[in-house]
């Protein structure tokens, strides 16, 4: 070429980018831990980060994370999946039926198969018929809820311990303790030392009485991350969500990848339902998903359509939910302290960026929260119940503008229109 253009060396190689991400994750983890430790000591709320609370948070987070992961698969391939809730409901039903009759592992497969039915339905409607993704999702939610309620009556009435709205108690998948680490960290957590015990709690929550399903869920998260970002398959799938027409021109069968992705999305939602029914509770019950599919979607958006991010979002939600269910008044009260400090820091940051109005809003909010903290000892149940939702809303409103969804997410795609 006759004129050589000097392109700016703007992007560093991805390896160092990854390292930077890891660094940030560690920093945030440390900040979070520090905040919890401080709040625990200052507000004298021991349960705020006890091993039990964190473990409960983990268990409550997993169904959300799995549903969110389902959403990730689907949306990375360009199909918005608001039907996750319905697919998750199908999953709980499949788990109830198959686990009762054939045990935990067949139950898992059954749940996944039931979820996949929902996924295939969504795929047929949106991909083959080009129906608006939201419309199809809403319809699937209605169908799934109705079908589950109806079939539950058929499946479980008359079984001992079962009934028209619930399955009998189901066997749990095996769980295990990580040798040495489990005990050591639990001991540390007991000590009540600032920061050290809090860190101990975290490790203990992850090493004690860990369900195999939790391990599987983590594997699904990590595996999806690897598959979608490190393999040719994943590149093709993501390209369908970013620019299906260019994928088509490069020989990618876009329909096939989208179909596959939405089906996998349903399967993961089914797994989420299974986890909820079998691990997080002890059987199928009507209405037990109670919006967790939607929350999963929110966690996915919160996590910027990335497995790590959505895990963080799910943990945040699961944690706040656990905190409010366990010694809710006290724990959430302590969280107010963190919120107040957080808002204050936000205000400082906004001032430095020259956003005066936002800063003032943040300061006023910080003061209100701080006063609330100082004047009360516990928070009424009505408000603790809102905690996970308010937290999600708060975090999203701070982070939304940095998020980037797949460019062709939610758009209709038809073959042969490329170019």
């Amino acid at each position: 070429m006759s004129t050589v253009v000097a392109a700016p060396q703007s992007t560093a190689p991805p390896a160092s980018g990854r390292r930077r991400t890891r660094l940030w994750v560690s920093v945030w983890l440390l900040v979070g831990l520090l905040a919890l430790a401080t709040a625990r000591v200052v507000a004298d709320a021991d349960d705020i980060d006890s091993t039990g609370t964190l473990r409960a948070g983990l268990v409550l987070a997993m169904p959300i994370a799995l549903a969110g992961l389902g959403g990730l698969w689907s949306e990375r391939a360009g199909v918005v999946n608001i039907g996750l809730e319905g697919m998750m409901i199908l999953g709980t039903l499949g788990a109830g039926y198959y686990t009762y009759h054939f045990g935990v592992w067949v139950g898992l497969l059954g749940a996944i198969a039931f979820g996949a039915i929902g996924g295939v339905l969504h795929a047929v409607a949106t991909i083959v018929f080009g129906v608006d993704h939201i419309v199809s999702g809403v319809a699937i939610n209605i169908i799934a809820a109705g079908a589950a309620a109806f079939l539950a009556e058929v499946f479980f009435s008359g079984l001992e311990g079962g009934g028209p709205t619930q399955s009998p108690s189901l066997p749990e998948p095996p769980s295990f303790d990580v040798p040495v680490l489990a005990e050591a960290s639990s001991d540390l957590a007991e000590k009540g030392w600032f920061l050290l015990s809090d860190a101990g709690s975290v490790v203990a929550a992850l090493t004690n009485n860990m369900s195999v399903f939790t391990l599987l869920a983590f594997a699904a998260l990590a595996g999806s991350g690897w598959l979608l970002w490190r393999t040719a398959f994943g590149l093709r799938l993501r390209s369908c969500g970013e620019s299906p027409s260019s994928a088509e021109t490069l020989g990618v069968n876009v329909y096939r990848y989208k179909f596959l992705a939405v089906t996998v999305s349903g399967m993961l939602a089914g797994f989420a339902g299974c986890y909820l029914a079998v691990v997080a509770s002890s059987g199928y019950a009507n209405g037990q998903t109670n919006g967790r599919g939607f929350i999963g979607l929110a966690a996915m958006i919160f996590g910027n359509w990335r497995p790590g991010g959505l895990l963080a979002g799910s943990l945040l939600f699961g944690y706040t939910d656990a905190a409010r269910l366990r010694s809710g008044g006290e724990s959430v009260h302590a969280l107010l302290l963190i919120l107040a400090v957080g808002l204050l820091l936000l205000a400082v940051w906004q001032v430095r960026r020259g956003h005066r109005t936002s800063a003032i809003v943040a300061i006023v909010a910080a003061v209100v929260v701080a006063v609330w903290f100082a004047l009360t000892d516990a928070i009424p149940g009505d408000f603790t119940q809102m905690t996970p939702y308010v937290t999600t809303l708060l975090v999203l409103s701070l982070a939304s503008q940095r998020l980037r969804m797949p460019a062709a997410d939610g758009l209709r795609y038809r073959r042969g229109e490329a170019g």
């Binding site: 004129t3 093709r236 170019g419």
Partner: protein, 514 residues
């Protein structure tokens, strides 16, 4: 043609029908190996369709395709790629949010994987052809020139021997065109076969070994560049004499209609997209803006129409300072707007034509009666536009989507010219419009100018700019860098001014765009 060697590509009797249009009708094209074969024809002549058939994106209704003497069936692009065919599309086929590497290896992961081996290969090709592309850069940060190079890199990476380039030069500056041609010649030397589509006949004559002309979906002739002039080619394409825009005597008055002063527009992170733009248009005057795409034309137009807020500077219309006005108020005050992307900005594709008549005129008769929609008024006026501007449509209840692009454009022009606007802001008013309609639109603009309309005209078509404008300003990197008199300037002079006076290195458009 008396070929001795087997043809690299032989298309025979290709027929392709779309609902309502025959895009290709008995098309015959033979491409000899190791040559550059050009396809020319009007908008809508069927060039892209033919190439999509050759690339397996669309299936022909009739006809056969031979590659290297073998008859083949190409059901999907994958089949074509497997036969060594590569295609650079008329519109970029890139995923903005993926890196150069990902865009390149997509679909061809088997060759070198998606990791370091692929990265090395990209570096190698990039160095060999002087592409200067960083595999890990996100495509969205690249300018148009670099994107074009990514597209070619994609094709080369797949080891394509037959390379289709559908209007690759439309968005390039002359220097980039030169560089591209150097690459093409290099490829030809290495034995590649190239199929090249362009509307710029001089380019075609400069690079092609053979030229096939399409008219209304059928092949009219295959010629050698040495045997024809660009004028001959044009006549073959259109089947008649070419019209050309030419300004009559000046109608410029003293009344200033639009005055833009010291305008600065920034992007989200505060980088300048436009700076120090000062511009004045009087009643009866057409001011043309020339520039390479992506140098701030879009932003200028949007700032004048009120879609974009300037960070500093003022916009004055007649006697009012309209800087703080929204688009609605400006349009109500008499601004007509022909947007560059008609489908995205000019039309409600799924609404009937008469509703599209209302669009942009929600405050004015005849489509509105105060706060209420005047359906009868809108329908009647739509019928007037359809008749006056020769919009080919069965009626005004037809949805805009059903119209061809050219007819959509004619309707938009008709709409924006109605209601006696005082200022017309027109971006590429004749893009994608056939020659007959093009002449009609030029006439309409001239007629309105005579009645005192002020026009801000942005166009990539230099002949159009020179033919219509009373003065031409050149925009470069968000600044107005020169003023030319259309009576004296040549397209060549304008062309070099657009790129920064020729001797300056080509600007990295990325810095302008982002």
């Amino acid at each position: 043609m008396s070929d001795t060697a087997t043809a690299a590509v032989r298309l025979q009797g290709i027929v392709k029908r779309f609902p309502g249009v025959v895009a290709n009708h008995d098309v015959e094209v033979t491409v000899r190996p190791g040559t550059v074969h050009a396809l020319v024809g009007e908008n809508g002549a069927g060039k892209s369709t033919l190439m999509k058939i050759l690339y397996g994106v669309q299936k022909p209704d009739e006809g056969s395709i031979e590659i290297d003497g073998q008859t083949v069936v190409l059901a999907t692009p994958a089949d074509a790629i497997a036969r060594g065919i590569g295609m650079v599309f008329q519109h970029f086929q890139l995923a903005d949010n993926l890196s150069v590497l990902e865009n390149v290896v997509l679909g061809a992961e088997k060759r070198h994987g998606i990791g370091d081996a692929a990265r090395r290969e990209i570096h190698r090709i990039s160095a060999e052809y002087g592409f200067d592309l960083d595999p890990d850069e996100l495509v969205e940060t690249l300018g148009v020139g670099a994107r074009q190079r990514v597209e070619i890199l994609k094709v080369l990476y797949r080891g394509a021997r037959i390379i289709i380039l559908d209007e690759p030069t439309a968005v390039l500056v002359p220097q980039e065109v030169e560089a591209l041609f150097a690459n093409l010649r290099e490829l030809k030397r290495e034995g590649h076969t190239l199929i090249f589509i362009s509307h710029k006949l001089d380019e075609v004559l400069a690079i092609a070994d053979e030229i096939t002309v399409l008219r209304r979906g059928a092949t009219v002739a295959t010629v050698r560049p040495a045997d024809v002039t660009s004028h001959d080619l044009a006549e073959l394409m259109v089947g008649s004499e070419l019209p050309s825009p030419s300004t009559e005597e000046s109608t410029v008055t003293d009344r200033v209609v639009l005055e833009v002063r010291d305008l600065r527009v920034e992007d989200k992170v505060g980088r300048a997209l436009l700076s120090d733009v000062t511009l004045r248009i009087r009643a009866g005057e057409v001011v043309g803006i020339a520039g390479v795409e992506g140098n701030g034309q879009t932003e200028l137009v949007e700032a004048v129409v009120g879609i974009r807020r300037p960070s500093t500077g003022t916009v004055q219309m007649l006697d009012a300072d309209v800087t703080a006005w929204g688009t609605r108020r400006r349009r109500a005050a008499g601004v007509g707007y022909i947007p560059e992307d008609r489908q995205r900005h000019g039309l409600l594709l799924d609404a009937p034509l008469w509703e599209n008549r209302v669009l942009g005129h929600q405050t004015r008769a005849p489509s509105m009666h105060g706060y209420w929609i005047d359906r009868h008024g809108a329908v009647a006026d739509s019928k007037r536009i359809v008749a006056e501007y020769d919009v080919r449509t069965p009626g005004v209840n037809t949805t805009a989507r059903a119209l061809s692009g050219g007819n959509q454009q004619k309707f938009i022009v008709g709409r924006e010219m109605s209601g006696d606007p005082v200022l017309l802001v027109a971006s590429h008013p004749t893009r994608g419009v056939d020659v007959g309609a093009q002449a009609a639109i030029w006439d309409q603009i001239r007629e309105a100018r005579r009645r005192g309309l002020a026009v801000l005209l942005v166009s990539a078509d230099l002949d159009e700019l020179i033919g219509l404008s009373d003065s031409i300003r050149v925009i470069l990197r968000g600044r107005l860098v020169g003023t030319f008199d259309p009576h004296t300037v040549t397209p060549q002079e304008l062309g070099s001014a657009k790129t920064g006076a020729g001797d300056e290195a080509v600007v990295d458009e990325a810095t302008v765009r982002r």
